[in-house]
Subunit: 362 residues, 2 copies
């Protein structure tokens, strides 16, 4: 089934996002970074995390639920660690500042680790680790998020899709960019299947009774996503444990809300029963490569590793293994040239924002 | 099918392991730690990583493939990072020393991160992160290992079962201890199914043609394990990416052998086609909780989180979600009292070692 889209140059969408954030009083420098995080998602083909979410940011800013001019501060620090309070700013603004702090600490003492509270949705985790690449650092990024995923053997939504990202630079080869949600499949894929009237594969979701379901509506109506590994037999306890790890590092360590109490991003989502901290939580890390090995030697080995893995004998019906980050990089190259295709509901949302805020769009 | 076992007190097995290591010239302090790592695996029910492996360590020591009296050294360091060369010692000896270095760095500057080369199999990753708990630190441990796992869309064994471990202390509740291999199912489970003449679940393994197989022999004869997530649809690319992350942090960062070139642990396994570094690699991390938040506050929140997750509505036919580390802790409590049941082939191996080395066993 083909989906009708309208294609926009990245620059047009970027300028629109910037002006939208500025409309709510976000300082120009912050608006520029926030727009960059969103656009990078669209360029890399992670459409669920790009301009499609602008309308939600607008809703939150309009209702005063997000602080457009936060004064984030360091709550506590050692030479290589810190807790950062985002002052309820946009995650797209707080995240980059906290990530920069981790990188500064790494440059000063080998590594830097920053747990962040009182923040909001920060876009794609991959953006942060690609920033670290620019400074020849190995970057780590995690975040917790609104509950969608059941722990293995549980029936309720208790965890977010809690992603883990890390990137390693190559020399002649492109970097390895890992960015993965710790659930079996993204919520967006459930929504797409629902729109198409198609079932989802077994192992993605349970319904509200806890039974595995292939009906997307069954998951949407009070069901839950399954963790990476799906069931006990296939390692569902491992995906659950990884999601829990992300939750503790991002939220328990910083004093944010964890697990089922993580506040929702969209307005239509349920407000948690109680508050156990401030906002949602992120976790950033950065490590100096030369804190371990000569960077040139590291990158030469990464090149060798990348070529070795590409040369793996391919499974039947495939072209062989990819390296993490390959599909997103290919998409970025293509979309930087030919533009970003947006589905009609997203275009409608953006036009709606343009009308409401009197900002020219298209 | 019940399996015949003989039960030994942990103290008997511990003493036997110590004397065996000492027989080969391992210093008494090192032998004690090495035996502790092995016994902790048996106590916690991870039978594949405990005394069942002693005979392999003996083979390696007897052939001079492992250095019984290594002089490990720091290759390069910053205040919070280091590369450690294990001088080809037992992983059970080198690992604890490198882990201790990570913890010392954490105590000095908030966090410590140590990548290790020129080392060997280090036992269970969980041992290292439980050591960190004793010092009120959040410990991380990873290691690469001999190839057994295919990257998604590949037909060859290219990666080890590359585990990730991390632990978080509670206050009144027991700690959360995460220790997971990044493949869908352990190789030991394939061997057990083979012995029982039973098929394995689809999603665990492929045969040498790359076809998914439920025949354990199909995997053993030149096939491979699948990464966590199993196939593309269920997130097999995520398990593959996590295994690659562990490989890079443990081996590329330290200058050890990575991917398919990681040397084998057992003698019967294939020697890799080329060498790209020294020995296998580990990666340890430690973070001071008070580098982020008041430790008492952190532990109180962990207690709340543990109780919240235990109170999740149970899936049909289950008692509800466990917390990572629950099954191992229950096993440890039981086996500390009633002893460690060993299957007959393991007892035969240990008796063989006792005869060869003239060390009393039972």
């Amino acid at each position: 089934m083909s989906v009708e889209t309208i294609t926009f140059p990245a620059a047009v969408l970027r300028a629109f996002c910037e002006r939208t954030f500025e409309h709510f009083g976000v300082p120009a420098d912050d608006a520029r970074v926030a727009a960059d995080v969103l656009l990078r998602a669209d360029l890399r083909g992670i459409d669920s995390h790009g301009v499609a979410r602008l309308v939600t940011y607008v809703d939150m800013l309009e209702l005063g639920r997000i602080n457009p001019r936060p004064k984030p501060f360091v709550v506590r620090a050692t030479p290589s660690t810190a807790t950062f309070d985002g002052d309820n700013g946009l995650g797209l603004v707080v995240g980059p500042k906290a990530n920069a702090l981790a990188m500064e600490k790494a440059e000063a003492c080998g590594s830097g680790w920053v747990s962040v509270r009182n923040t909001n949705h920060y876009g794609i985790a991959g953006w942060y680790v690609m920033e670290a690449l620019k400074r020849d650092l190995i970057g780590w990024a995690m975040t917790n998020s609104t509950k969608l995923v059941a722990p293995l053997w549980g029936v309720e939504r208790m965890l977010g899709t809690n992603p883990i990202a890390i990137a390693f630079p190559g020399k002649e080869e492109p970097p390895i960019v890992i960015d993965l949600a710790t659930c079996a499949a993204a919520y967006g894929k459930i929504e797409i299947a629902k729109r198409r009237g198609e079932p989802v594969p077994s192992g993605w979701a349970i319904d509200k009774t806890g039974a595995v379901t292939t009906d997307p509506q069954g998951m949407i109506d009070g069901g839950a996503l399954l963790p990476l590994g799906s069931d006990r037999e296939h390692g569902g306890h491992k995906g659950y444990a990884l999601a829990l790890m992300v939750d503790v590092l991002s939220a328990v360590l910083s004093g944010a809300n964890w697990g089922p109490f993580t506040p929702p991003f969209a307005l239509r989502q349920e407000i948690p029963a109680r508050s156990v901290g401030k906002g949602i939580g992120h976790f950033f890390g950065a490590m100096r490569i030369d804190g371990f090995v000569e960077p040139d030697e590291f990158k030469t080995q990464i090149d060798d590793l990348v070529r070795t893995f590409r040369a793996t004998k391919p499974a039947p019906g495939t072209h062989g293994p990819l390296l993490p980050g390959d599909p997103e990089r290919a998409c970025e190259t293509e979309r930087a040239k030919s533009g970003i295709p947006l589905v009609l509901p997203v275009v409608r949302d953006l036009r709606g924002v343009a009308r409401r805020l009197c900002i020219p769009f298209d």
